[in-house]
Symmetry: C2
């Protein structure tokens, strides 16, 4: 069975066929609708072409310090540590991620509505927006494991029921990103191709997939084709830099054996015109702290 | 027991104490003795400071092609594949490394006496030289595992009985080295510090250590100190580029999830005035194809 055989009006079928497929994107990247904002025309055009943009110094050094302290406070709060939204590494008992952190931390909640962040998201998505997912990540030095190539949209579509490619992620670095400490790699331009993946989603897949994904993983042949056509770029820059990337950007990261840890704040904005429906390829949706499916109130400053 | 308690005239004690230690290097880096050669004075001074140098375009594109074909020929030769000097990955049945390759392949043997290579080694070590170890490495895309921080000299001293820091390695890239496909990272200047490691060498340690080293691994605290003092640089460059690095360079590599493989030819030159004695910290020496201990004939063009 190939993807073409599947009768559906789904533009982006995945986890339904037995052969992978490359499918042309049908959605805009930089959506029309919001005419002004902090992103200049050249940068917006480049975002449209590459599927991502970077903002050096989005946060001041003093703000980086403030958020760093907030992350430290959160990861040492026993209540937060016991929360189901917190991912704790078993072997070390250290916090690795805290989901829905914009609701757990007032500081980080305010960041989601900060004009530097929110107005850029509105400008890219051409509409009002809300938070689909948020988290902070703590990646230790020496043993950071990295994450294999994937498109976030593939999972959000298959498991969360996000209909179209009209979401943007912002990753704000709280530590310096070098080329060699496991920073994000992206394939500029590959966001215009949807890689339809093979394999069906098992029950409660999110519990495993947040650690290491096995379903919804692009095949090596597709990755090779996209890399040959588009090449690879890395997100590097000092703490306080931000990366905004399209929901269908092909991205991944290598391991980090350096002593330099990486921490970041990660917020996914979705258009209010793109709210989730039933999952396209999963027995049940992921839990609300991983994928918001109830509160679509447009964010305002 | 600390290293200082161990009664020995060994300048670089390792795997003998229960606490790691940082020991000052007592040997020159660029040794006096050979006054002329292809390395200019500035580059040699920089090698002395950093512990490594790079040569872009050491091989021409045609030569890269020739050696690439030779590597393909070797890895598909059943006799070579069955040789004990060849490391084959069990799960894939693919060749990962071939040791003592300068004796197995005439082409690669000639490279060891090529003036572009040999004269540089002689110039750095200030004497006649011979080959302590050679190998070719085949590192696949997508699943290249990387290698944790280490000093080669630590192993050569402990397990091969190499007395002093008077050896230099050359790694010649047969594929492009990007910042993101697992290229070598080095700490410039860290070659002046010897990290004494804890733990005793078990029998036949080389069988495991060629895959993933556990003994002779520097502790995280020492790595952090050296990285904070010296920083990290990466060896990047097009196929045909070469890296020459001191035996005590602190180096390692991350994983490679990109589709871009890495292959290289690796030759270790040792001074004829630095031939191995009994291992300093191992029950028996490693086998001769990993560490030459019988043929010290000076190489000549």
């Amino acid at each position: 069975m190939t993807v073409a055989d599947v009768k559906t009006d789904d533009l982006y079928p995945t986890r339904v066929g037995t052969e992978p497929a490359l499918i042309k994107r049908e959605d805009p990247v930089a959506w029309p609708g919001v005419d002004s904002g902090p992103i200049d025309a050249d940068t917006l055009r480049s975002y449209d072409d590459k599927g991502f943009l970077t903002v050096e110094g989005l946060l001041t050094p003093a703000e980086v310090q403030k958020f760093w302290q907030e992350l430290t406070r959160l990861s040492s709060d026993p209540e937060v540590k016991a929360d189901e939204r917190t991912v704790v590494e078993k072997s070390s008992n250290e916090v690795r991620s805290i989901f829905e952190v914009h609701k757990i931390s007032e500081e980080i909640g305010r960041l989601a509505t900060d004009p530097r962040v929110l107005d850029r998201a509105r400008q890219i998505l051409g509409s009002d927006v809300y938070v689909h997912q948020s988290r902070v990540n703590y990646m230790p030095g020496f043993k950071g494991r990295g994450f294999y190539w994937h498109s976030d949209f593939e999972t959000w579509h298959a498991e969360d029921g996000m209909p179209r490619m009209r979401a943007v992620s912002i990753s704000i670095a709280l530590t310096d990103n070098y080329p060699f400490n496991g920073g994000l790699m992206l394939m500029p331009g590959a966001h215009r191709t949807f890689v339809s993946c093979v394999g069906a989603t098992p029950d409660d897949h999110y519990k495993e997939s947040l650690k290491e994904q096995e379903i919804g993983v692009p095949d090596q042949d597709s990755i090779s084709k996209l890399a040959a056509e588009h090449g690879i770029e890395q997100f590097t820059g000092p703490a306080g830099s931000a990366l905004m990337f399209d929901s269908n950007s092909m991205h991944g990261s290598g391991s980090n054996i350096t002593p330099f840890p990486r921490s970041n704040i990660f917020i996914v904005f979705n258009s209010v015109d793109n709210t989730p429906v039933e999952p396209f390829a999963a027995p049940q949706p992921r839990p609300p702290f991983v994928a918001n499916r109830s509160d679509f109130t447009p964010l305002s400053r």
